[in-house]
């Protein structure tokens, strides 16, 4: 940009619009977190459903496997953030808010998981989990003004509500898989496509 160029009012407005639009691109999320956790949760629920029908392993085998995979992922991301600090060139208010909300989400998640392990029925426990997912999905969708996530949040809550009235765990798993597919996986992939498109246009 040239130095001290005389501006008209319309040019000023255009600069403001362009730059605010550019900054808005930085708020976009690549959706990779939703895709990764979505597919892990979806696979665990579908395999558990199949396992409940075939009785190959113990009922919670795939959820235990999911727990180990989650711990490994957590360990990996902790090590990566400690030793290979990667900070962006820009800090946005939404990213900061999401970081703090993430902590709240994981603590609440842990409480429900412990409750299930302490005797709360898994059928009801998974409904509570879905309720929590829905809450986080809605905040994400509203924060980034991303409609697929907002719709996904309501679908997740509908699944959570339906989950309160099912009798058997195989139905719980089907509802869980549906909610994760529509609340995590599809919005995650759509966010990823939008993110790539926005960054491709910028180049």
């Amino acid at each position: 940009m040239e130095q001290e160029k005389k501006l008209t009012e319309r040019e000023s407005l255009l600069i403001i619009q362009q730059m605010i639009q550019t900054a808005k691109q930085e708020q976009k999320d690549d959706g990779k977190g939703w895709i990764l956790w979505g597919w892990l949760l979806f696979t665990a629920s579908v395999l558990t459903f199949i396992n409940l029908k075939t009785q190959w392993f113990s009922n919670n085998f795939f959820w235990n496997l999911f727990g180990i995979a989650s711990l490994a992922l957590l360990l990996f991301s902790t090590i990566r953030s400690l030793f290979f600090k990667k900070t962006g060139k820009v800090k946005t208010y939404t990213a900061e808010l999401f970081q703090k909300l993430n902590i709240g989400f994981f603590i609440s998640l842990l409480l429900i998981i412990v409750a299930i392990n302490r005797g709360v029925s898994p059928v009801l426990g998974f409904s509570l989990l879905l309720g929590l997912y829905g809450f986080w999905i809605l905040i994400y969708g509203a924060g980034l003004n991303f409609k697929p996530s907002i719709i996904g949040a309501y679908i997740t809550w509908a699944c959570a509500f339906a989950g309160l009235f099912v009798e058997t765990f195989d139905w719980t798993m089907l509802l869980h898989a549906t909610a994760v597919l529509l609340g995590y996986i599809i919005p995650g992939h759509l966010a990823n496509i939008e993110f790539k498109k926005a960054h491709w246009q910028e180049k």
Partner: protein, 95 residues
């Protein structure tokens, strides 16, 4: 009645920098340079002017042994920017 547009903001590069900073919490010098397509020298001069006006805060630090300059809009900068946009709207509607 037209209010004069703030001369500090009524400049292409300074206005671009302020418009970027108003939308984010803070940004590195390299980010501003990349998004405004300005040269490092020119951008430094304009950032200094905005700093002197009290519109932005400039934090110089080291990250992984490399110098890093972080810019942040101040409350005075937000007020000035809002005022500038308001006056701009008056100009555009009256013309």
């Amino acid at each position: 009645m037209f209010n004069d547009l703030d001369p500090i903001l009524h400049s292409q590069l300074r206005l671009a920098v302020m418009s970027l900073l108003i939308s984010v919490k803070e940004a590195e010098f390299t980010f501003l340079k990349e998004k405004t397509n300005a040269t490092a020298g020119n951008l430094s001069v304009q950032i200094q002017k905005l700093k002197e006006a009290g519109y932005i805060e400039v934090i110089k630090q080291f990250k992984d042994n490399y110098p890093q300059t972080i810019c942040k809009i101040t409350p005075a900068g937000i007020k000035a920017f809002e005022e500038y946009v308001k006056n701009l709207q008056v100009y555009l509607t009256q013309k």
